[in-house]
Amino acid sequence: MINLQILIWVTSQERASHPVGTSIRVVDFLKNLPVRRQTALKSTAATLSKIKRTLKAYAIARPATRFSLKVLKAKNDKDNWVYAPKAGACVSDAAIKVVGKEVVGQCEWMVRSPNDPQASACSQTPDGSLGVDSAERSSDYIIQALIPRPQCGTHYMSRRSLDYLSDDCTQISQSSVMVPIISP
């Protein structure tokens, strides 16, 4: 087995104009992996929509954060996406942007924690967090989910609808169709 150590060295350093923060720019990705590069070039549309879905998931996980996706020198802006929340935006604002107002209108919040295994409805607080009482706050984790109400019509749930669990602001799950068991 050959153990190849590749040293990454700084090749040049210069002054630049940039606000406080960081820009990482990857140039010529897969340049030295020609087979993978050819494969990637054949599926750019799929990659772009995967990136857009990733950003939507992040918007729901971090609804107070602004996200934008821009395809450089594109013919049109159909692959672009912007989530520009107002101050104090909460998860339902992000959900409205991602799946639309109609779908969110048919959903309600469920909150579960180890101390309180029963579901509890809760309201949004201005700072974006769901109103959770102090007993739940002392738990190791809190699961919050936006789930369709049992009585909603199935025509609101389309393939576009995405299902997310937000756990401590990290996106952990995503499925392309919401399929709760809805009893008639």
């Binding site: 060295w9 700084v10 960081t22 897969l30 992040y58 602004r66 450089l72």
Partner: protein, 136 residues
Amino acid sequence: MHIAALPPNAVRAIGSTQALTDAASVVKELIDNALDARASAIFVEISTNTLDVIQVKDNGHGIGPHDRDMVCRRFCTSKIRELDDLENIGGTSLGFRGEALASAAEMSGSVVVTTRVEGEAVAVSSKFGRQGEIER
């Protein structure tokens, strides 16, 4: 915390053989880094063929002068110091392996890191390549 190399036992325990698979995984790793830097705005730009340019810009706290050389070095991270820190990491940091930027640099033509921290008058831009030597 500054960037420092992880001890060998931590590298063995948490090292991942999953390299970056496509542009989407690059974007995901860079967004995780931006969120760890407490960014409130993250801008993703990508070329039409998804390979020529992949850029993620954030307004987080930036990378300090002492850390800029180590940003793309494998198994070097500012997120944890040793294996046991992983116990306490939940909820505070999304990244911890010290692999994403190193893999990005290995698999691309170059990685350009432009960063400015609070108190600096101007930003610094560094270019990282795969070569073993420094170009002058």
